[in-house]
């Protein structure tokens, strides 16, 4: 159970994703759900990924660790580099040794990670023994400690519980204990609190902050901008299968440069009611079947002009840390 000493300096990338593209077989052909996605996850940071449903957040997360069911899904290009190895190309046995121990996942639905047929304690013990030699009694103790750490009352008793005997919030915490227990280097959390009450969400965020102090890097996927503000150091905004903006969180909220990000921020109800109406983004996210030529946001964008319909904008650099895929950027204009 020795924690691996980080060999990378804090600002260095621990998980490097380049040009990841994912397609699905659908009736009458293929659709591209994730399109040339590139980003770095740095050691010790919490990186947010935000965007409305259908933008490709979950497909991206699942593809990183080859958990995307195939068929119908196919990773058609790109690389995911972890400690010099491309996770998309190493033998599956090697990947299994990494998954769970070095890179762990938290999903919205805890039952996807828990077996309904085994008691909580047995599952916590098994997860530890899968990745290293540890006597059962010791593993049981560690499991109990982790249940206490994630705020489960009477942890010793709960070790003997079946998953169905616990509330949704409790099960979510068990899954989080399971994901953190092996002190992974990377945690990928896909909407971990979406199904939970704000009070439970606050408890879980508190826990994730503890983990951050332990220098684990995390990717937090959510559709909730305020969760990004609360939890993350940097964030990526996804729209229609692509990253359209990336920036440190404060910068993203104060100086959004992509009209989609600006629209998301303005349509959030927050603070006392000042005006009578909320600002909205007209229309809806296009389906991967009919992504338009040029900028995929063009049909909903208040700033659209001819260039946008002709040329797909690249991720222009606003500054060292801030990028946005919008033709306004090189013009020096703001949405």
């Amino acid at each position: 159970m020795e924690r691996r000493k980080p060999t990378l300096s804090e600002s260095e990338s621990i998980l490097t994703v380049r040009d990841l593209s994912v397609e699905f077989d659908v009736e009458g052909g293929r659709i591209r759900a994730v399109d040339r996605v590139s980003f770095d996850l740095r050691a010790g940071e919490v990186l947010g990924v935000v965007g409305e449903s259908g933008c490709g957040k979950s497909v991206t997360a699942l593809s990183l660790v080859r958990l995307l069911p195939s068929p119908p899904g196919h990773v058609v290009g790109g690389s995911v580099t972890f400690e010099g190895r491309d996770l998309l190309r190493i033998p599956i046995a090697e990947l299994r040794a990494i998954r769970g121990k070095r890179i762990s996942m938290i999903f919205q639905d805890p039952m996807s990670a828990l077996s309904p047929l085994h008691r909580i304690g047995d599952q916590l013990v098994e997860a530890q023994q899968l990745h290293g030699e540890i006597p059962t009694r010791r593993a049981w103790e560690v499991g109990t400690e982790w249940l206490a750490k994630v705020g489960i009352p009477d942890p010793a008793e709960r070790m003997n519980a079946w998953p169905h005997e616990l509330s949704g919030g409790m099960r979510q915490r068990v899954m989080i204990a399971m994901a953190l227990m092996l002190k992974p280097d990377v945690v990928i959390a896909d909407e971990p609190t979406t199904a939970l009450d704000v009070t439970i969400q606050a408890q879980i965020f508190e826990l994730m902050r503890v983990l951050k102090d332990a220098k684990t890097a995390a990717m937090l996927i959510t559709h909730d901008m305020s969760a990004i503000w609360e939890m993350c150091d940097r964030a990526l905004v996804m729209y229609a299968g692509q990253i359209v903006e990336s920036a440190p969180v404060r910068e993203l909220f104060q100086n959004p440069r992509h009209p989609y990000t600006a629209g998301l921020l303005r349509s959030m109800p927050r603070g006392p009611r000042t005006g009578r109406r909320l600002e909205t983004i007209p229309g809806q996210v296009p389906s991967p079947r009919d992504y338009p030529k040029g900028c995929r946001f063009a049909d909903r964008c208040p700033h659209v002009w001819s260039l946008c319909r002709e040329h797909e904008p690249e991720l222009f650099a606003v500054d060292e840390e801030h990028r946005a895929a919008c033709h306004l950027v090189p013009e020096g204009r703001k949405p």
């Binding site: 409305e52 449903s53 705020g151 009352p153 509330s167 919030g169 409790m170 009450d197 704000v198 009070t199 439970i200 969400q201 606050a202 408890q203 965020f205 508190e206 902050r209 559709h223 909730d224 901008m225 305020s226 969760a227 503000w229 609360e230 939890m231 909220f253 629209g263 998301l264 349509s267 959030m268 109800p269 927050r270 603070g271 006392p272 009611r273 009578r276 109406r277 909320l278 600002e279 909205t280 983004i281 007209p282 809806q284 996210v285």
Partner: protein
């Protein structure tokens, strides 16, 4: 002041838990206990609280889908007979739900969905098509929708159809139960704007149930906070959210991620909602309350007025007695 649109006093709805071969009632899920509230004409009352605290049961009881064990309901000052659901109430109070896919019969076209209730009540004055078109226009959809089925629409559009359906009988009050909770933020904003417009146009009142305090803050004039089937605090929205009096309200608000506020400003509430079939004695919140006193374990708290707010908490009765 004229009589409120809807007033309820001591409303109590418990669900029996049955066991054994004779289906004997062994206990009750005390989903809603002794709730009193009033909604004025043209007013939006927000209801917030964690899941399981009885928000949906309150809505279902008001619209007549659950039968209360106790309590009185008054519509514009007139007492409604207990038990049966009077036709007047059926027309005056409508409800829309979080999941329009489940609430809209998938085998009916939009035309049928929008006009079946009117036809049933014998209230169709124009042709079905003309009536349905007007309703669709009210919610920002066009006539192309008439002959399509619910599944052919996106989540936001389906919720617009639910709203149109609720409007058909020209109700005075619409109960919105997590009506925008499943929608993405940009679509949620569109539907919230629609609800605000319709309220103005038809002088509607809303009972707006949501676990999302930011949404309630945007739409509600007053807000009631529920905990374990009871209203623990109530008042004008900005008073309750700006200076919450009940320790539960304080914790709930501090748990909401707020853009601009630093995470360190937060005081998360421990534990979870206890089972409503065995609510704690005294104040039901006392096991989780950071300010709990001896008396909270045994005596139910009184309801005290604090400015325009009403709060059920012993902390404030002590204030009064020591003055």
């Amino acid at each position: 002041m004229s009589a409120p649109l809807l007033e309820v006093k001591g409303l109590t709805t418990w669900y029996p838990i049955r066991r054994g071969v004779w289906s004997r009632t062994v206990r009750h899920v005390q989903a809603l206990t002794d709730v009193s509230l009033a909604i004025q004409e043209g007013e939006t009352l927000g209801i917030v609280g964690e899941s399981g605290c009885g928000k949906t049961t309150l809505g279902r009881t008001l619209v007549g889908l659950e039968r209360p064990m106790a309590g009185a309901m008054l519509l514009r000052g007139a007492v409604l007979p207990a038990g049966i659901r009077p036709a007047a109430l059926q027309r005056q109070v409508q409800m829309i739900f979080q999941d329009p896919a489940a609430a809209l019969n998938p085998r009916l076209t939009v035309l049928d969905l929008l006009t079946e209730a009117l036809a049933y009540h014998g209230l169709l004055t124009e042709s079905r098509e003309a009536t349905a078109l007007q309703l669709l226009r009210d919610v920002g959809l066009d006539g192309a929708a008439l002959h399509r089925y619910p599944f052919e629409f996106s989540g936001g559009q389906r919720q617009r159809i639910s709203v149109a359906r609720a409007l058909a009988l020209r109700p005075s009050l619409i109960i919105c139960d997590e009506a925008v909770s499943a929608l993405d933020v940009s679509v949620q904003a569109q539907v919230l704007n629609l609800l605000m417009d319709l309220k103005e146009k038809y002088r509607l009142s809303y009972l707006f149930i949501s676990h999302d305090i930011n949404v309630v803050r945007f739409i509600a004039d007053r807000v009631a906070v529920m905990y374990l089937g009871r209203i623990v605090e109530e008042g004008p929205t900005e008073d309750v959210i700006g200076s919450p009096a009940h320790p539960y309200t304080q914790a709930l608000i501090s748990a909401v991620p707020a853009v601009g506020r630093e995470a360190s400003a937060r005081r998360p509430l421990g534990g979870e909602l206890p089972s409503p079939s065995r609510p704690p004695a005294g104040c039901p919140f006392h096991p989780r309350c950071p300010s709990a006193m001896e008396i909270c374990k045994t005596a139910a708290p009184p309801t005290i007025s604090k400015g325009a707010q009403k709060v059920s908490c012993h902390l404030y009765s002590r204030d009064l007695s020591s003055q």
